[in-house]
C-alpha cells in the first residue's frame, strides 16, 4: 500500500504537486487531519493555526496555478520548533515565561521558508528554552515518542522529531545546541542535520547558547534535508555570526557526490555507556561503508572526556545572560503581586522558569562571577579550542567521522530523573557544537524492541554537501525510511 500523503517525503510530494495530482490545500488538510487524529497522544504541538496554514496553502496553489511556483518546498507543510519566531504566531520556548507571547516578526529562516513557498504549520514542543534531551522539561507537558508512546522522543527538538515521525508535518525545523536536532532525530527514526555554525541565520531563534546554537532541518529523507538546508542556509545581514559563504545546490550535490570517502571512527565514542544494540547497528553501518569502498580508519579525539564539562560551562554562561531579558518588564510572564522592579524580577522569574532552566541560569551566573571567570569560563574556552583542534587533526586523515548519535535508544518518560544522567545522552553530540562542525543523524536500524537507532556523520566545516551525500549512499541501500510507527 502506498504511503499516506503525510508520510511521503518532500521530493515525492513535490512531483505530485507539480503535476497537480494533489493541491497544497489537500496536502495541508491531510496533515491537519492527521494531527487532529494523533496529536492527543503524541503531543508534539504547543499550538497550531489551521486557518492560517490553509490560507498559506491556498496562496501556494494560486502561485502554482499562475506558473509562479517557487521551488521544491512550494506548498509543503513545515513545522517549526517553538523557539523560532513566526510573525503573528505564539513563541513560547515551551516556557510559562512566554506562554502568552506572540512574536511580531519572522525569523530569517521563517522568512526564507515562506519565500520558498512552504506552508508554515504549527509550533512544536521542546524542552523549555531548548534545555534538555527528552522534551520532558516543557512547561506544557512532555511529547511522546510515536514509536512507543511511553517513551521520550528525545530533545530538545522532540516535538519536531515526533511530529515528523507521526506524520503531523512533512518536514520540521529544530535547533541544536548540544545535539538537540540529531538526538531526537535518532530516537524518532528521522534524518536530522545540524549545520556548520554560521551557515544558517540565528536571527529569530530564541537564544540558549549563542556560540553553539544552530537551526537545522528534520526530514524523512536525506534528499529532503538537502532541500530544506538549501532553503534556509546563507548569509544574513541581521546575524553578525552568519558566514559569507556560497551555498551550493545541496539537492544536486547530494546525488552527484558518490564517494568513496575516508571515514574516521573516533575510539572515544565507543566506550562504556553505549547500548549494545545501538553499537551493533552502528557497526553494521560501518561494515556497509567498507563494502562501498570507503576507507575506515580509527581516529582519536583525545579531549572528548572534557566535552561535557566544557559544554555545561559555556552553554550555561551564555544562557544566564541570554535569558536575563525575560524579566516581566516588557513582555512575558509578570508576577501579579510584585511590589517594585526588583520584586517583579524575583517573582516573575521564580514563577516563569522551570527547574532545569533555573539550574542552568544559576550555574552560568556562577561560572561568570568575579573570581571564578578565569577558572571556569576562560578555561572552558581554551579547552574548547583544543576540542575543535582534535576534530581538525582528525580531518587531516579522514573526510568525516562516523559515530552513534545517542548512546541509547528512546528511554521511558520519567526514567531519567537525575539531570546528570540526562546530560550523558549528549556525549556524542556536544563536541560537534563546541567545534562548530556540521553533523547529521540518519536512521540505521531498530532495536529488537522496535526503537529507532541513529547513525551520526560529522563533517568538515561547511562540508554539508559531502555529509549529505555520504548519508544518502547509506540511506538508499537500506529501507529504514520506509517504516512508520503505527499509532494505537
Amino acid at each position: 500500500m502506498a504511503d499516506a500523503l503525510f508520510f511521503k517525503p518532500i521530493a515525492e510530494l513535490g512531483a505530485l504537486l507539480e503535476t497537480k495530482t494533489v493541491s497544497s490545500v489537500e496536502l495541508t488538510q491531510g496533515v491537519i487531519a492527521r494531527t487532529m487524529a494523533v496529536d492527543g497522544r503524541v503531543r508534539a504541538f504547543n499550538s497550531y493555526d489551521e486557518a492560517d496554514a490553509l490560507a498559506q496553502a491556498a496562496a501556494s496553489d494560486a502561485r502554482r496555478a499562475a506558473g509562479q511556483a517557487r521551488g521544491p518546498l512550494e506548498g509543503i507543510p513545515v513545522g517549526l520548533k517553538d523557539v523560532i519566531s513566526v510573525a503573528g504566531q505564539p513563541l513560547t520556548a515551551s516556557s510559562k515565561m512566554l506562554a502568552n507571547f506572540v512574536s511580531p516578526y519572522d525569523a530569517t529562516v521563517t522568512a526564507k521558508l515562506k519565500g520558498a513557498g512552504a506552508v508554515i504549520w504549527g509550533r512544536l514542543n521542546c524542552d523549555e528554552f531548548a534545555m534538555g534531551s527528552s522534551t520532558e522539561n516543557s512547561a506544557f507537558g512532555p511529547t511522546a515518542n510515536p514509536w512507543d508512546l511511553t517513551r521520550v522522543p528525545g530533545g530538545s527538538s522532540g516535538g519536531s522529531s515526533a511530529a515528523l515521525a507521526a506524520g503531523e508535518a512533512i518536514a520540521t525545523l529544530g535547533s541544536d545546541t548540544g545535539g538537540s536536532i540529531r538526538q531526537p532525530a535518532a530516537l524518532c527514526g528521522v534524518v536530522g542535520l545540524k549545520p556548520t555554525y554560521g551557515l544558517v541565520s540565528r536571527y529569530g531563534l530564541i537564544a540558549f547558547a549563542s556560540s553553539l546554537d544552530q537551526i537545522g532541518p528534520l526530514t524523512r529523507t536525506v534528499e529532503d534535508a538537502a532541500i530544506m538546508l538549501g532553503a534556509i542556509a546563507g548569509h544574513d545581514p541581521l546575524d553578525s555570526t552568519s558566514f559569507k559563504a556560497d551555498v551550493p545546490d545541496y539537492r544536486v550535490e547530494v546525488k552527484r557526490r558518490q564517494g568513496p570517502w575516508r571515514l574516521g571512527i573516533p575510539k572515544e565514542y565507543f566506550g562504556a555507556g553505549l547500548d549494545p544494540e545501538v553499537s551493533a547497528a552502528v557497526e553494521r553501518a560501518i561494515a556497509f561503508y567498507r563494502t562501498q569502498g570507503c576507507e575506515i580508519r580509527e581516529v582519536s579525539l583525545p579531549h572528548t572526556q572534557y566535552c561535557l564539562d566544557t559544554y555545561y560551562i559555556i552553554a550555561t554562561a551564555e544562557a544566564s545572560s541570554n535569558l536575563a531579558r525575560y524579566d516581566g518588564i516588557r513582555y512575558g510572564h509578570r508576577a501579579k503581586d510584585a511590589k517594585d522592579a526588583v520584586d517583579i524580577y524575583f517573582k516573575s522569574r521564580a514563577e516563569g522558569f522551570g527547574p532545569e532552566v533555573k539550574r542552568r541560569i544559576i550555574l552560568g551566573t556562577y561560572v561568570l562571577s568575579s573570581g571564578y571567570y578565569d577558572a571556569f569560563y576562560l578555561r572552558a574556552q581554551q579547552v574548547r579550542t583544543l576540542i575543535r583542534q582534535d576534530f581538525l587533526n582528525a580531518y587531516r586523515e579522514v573526510d568525516a567521522l562516523l559515530t552513534p548519535t545517542s548512546p541509547v535508544p528512546a528511554f521511558k518518560l520519567g526514567e531519567k530523573s537525575d539531570p546528570l544522567a540526562l546530560y550523558l545522552c549528549d556525549i556524542y553530540t556536544i563536541g560537534v557544537n563546541l567545534a562548530g562542525l556540521p553533523a547529521l543523524s540518519v536512521p540505521c536500524g531498530f532495536t529488537a524492541g522496535g526503537l529507532p537507532v541513529g547513525l551520526q556523520l560529522i563533517g568538515q566545516p561547511f562540508a554539508e554537501a559531502n555529509l549529505l551525500a555520504m548519508a544518502r549512499v547509506y540511506e538508499q541501500a537500506h529501507d529504514w525510511r520506509l517504516k512508520h510507527p503505527v499509532l494505537p
Binding site: 531563534l205 546575524d239 536575563a324
Partner: protein, 485 residues
Amino acid sequence: MNYEAVIGLEVHIQIKTHSKVFTRVAAGYGQPANTLTDPVVLALPGTLPVMNKAALDAIIKAGLLLGCEIAPVCKWDRKNYFYPDSPKNYQISQYDQPICLGGSVEIELPGVARNVMGEHKRIPLTRIHLEEDVGKLNHFATESLVDYNRAGTPLMEIVSDPALHSADEAFAYLTSLRATMIYGSISDCDMEKGQLRCDANISIRPVGETRLGTKVELKNLNSISFVRDGIAHEIKRQVAVLERGGTLAQETRDYDGQTGTSQSLRSKEMAHDYRYFPDPDLMPVKVDEAWKEKLRAECPELPFPKQRRFVEGYQLPYTLTSVLVWDRALADFFEQAVKLAGQGKAQAVGNWIVNDLLRELGASKREFTELKVSPEHIAALVQLVDTGSVLTNAAREIFVEMFATGELPGVIADRRGLRAAPTDADELEQWCRDAIAANAKAVAEFKAGKDSAINAFKGPVMKAAKGKGDPKRVDAMLRHLLAAT
C-alpha cells in the same frame, strides 16, 4: 594641613549617528515614548545585534583627535546587570580591550586676566570605549514607566587618568573635550539632552603624599557648571571630614546642582559584579591602517592648535582668538573673510566678527547657520573702512543693516548716504585752527603734557564737519598744529 585633590572623570558622550548602534531604527531625541524602538531595541526573543559602522568610525575618529592608540581589533563584551531601563538586562560594552587607549585632552586654565592666555596642560586619558545607551525610567506616584527611545544609542565612555587637581581643571577638561567632539562632528554634546554626561571620582590627600585617598564617585553632574560646583563642594566636604578627625567612606554620592548639596547613594559593599564576558553574538572587527588613515584625513584642526596659529599667523590678540576658535564654523567664517580682505586685515575682520556679528547674532536669536551675511560682506565692509570711504560709526550702522537684510555694505552705504564726505584738507586745517584758537586753556594743558586735553578740540571740529570728519585725520591734524603752536 594642606590637601591636594585628585580627580578622574568618566564622561559619557552620545555619538551622533542616524541609526542606533546595533540595529537600523533611528536614534533621536524628543520623540513620543517608545517610538524609536524595534524588536532588537526591545530585546524581543530571538533578536540579535548588528554593529553600526558609523558609530565605530566616530569613536575611532574621536580617538585619533585625542591622540589615542587605536586597538587593531574592536571586540565586544556583555556587562550583565538587571535594571528596567536595560532591555536585555545586559549592556553591550567593551571591557578588557577598549577601542581607544591612552591619548590626552589639552586644557587651558584661567589666566591672570581675561585677556591673558592661561596655563596649558595635557590631561592623560586611560581609555575610550564604545557601548550602548539605556532607556529612561519615568517615575509617577504609583508606578514607573520606561521609555526605550534612548536605548541602543551609541555611547562612548571617555575615562581620564586621576590627573585633575581642581574644579577649574575639571571644568576646563570638559570644555575642551566637548569642543573637540563638536569639532569632529562626533556629538553635539548637548548636556540638556543627555548627550554628554559626567561622573567624577574624587579623593584628597595631604600635599606631598603619593598614595591616593579614599575615592568618592559623584554622579548626576548634568551641566558643566554643576561639574565644577559639585567637585568644589565635594573637595570641601572631604577636607571638612578629615579636619574634624573623621574618615571618608568609599561611596557613590548624588550631587544636586539646584541646592548645591550631595547625598550618599550607595557604599562600596553594594558594588555590582557585572560578570563581563565576550558577546558571542558579535564578531570582533579588525581596524586596519587604511581605515584609520581615511578617518585621520577627516580629522579637523582642534581649537588649541588653531588658536596658536591665529595668534602667530594672524597676529591676533588672545581675547579675539579665545572667542573665534571655540566654534568651528565661526573660525572658518573668520578665515574665509581674512582670505578675502587680506592677511593684514585679520584683526579688523576679527573685531567685526567677535564684537558686531556675535552681538547681532545673540540679539537676533538666530543660529549661525541662518546667517544672512557671508565672509564677503565682512571683507567688503573692512575694505570700505580701510579706504576711508566709510567712517567707523557709519560702518557700525551699515553692519546692523546688512546683518538684518543680507545686502552688501556698499549698497547700504550708497542708499543711506553713509559714505564719508571727501574732506578737503584745507577745510579741515581751518576747522582745527579755529578750535585751537577758541580754547587757550586746553592748549596750555596739552603743552603741559596732558595728552587727553586734545579731545577738547575734537568736538567743535566734528561739529563743523557735520559728523563726517575722519577721527584719525582730525587727530593727526590737531597734533600737527598744536606742535607748531
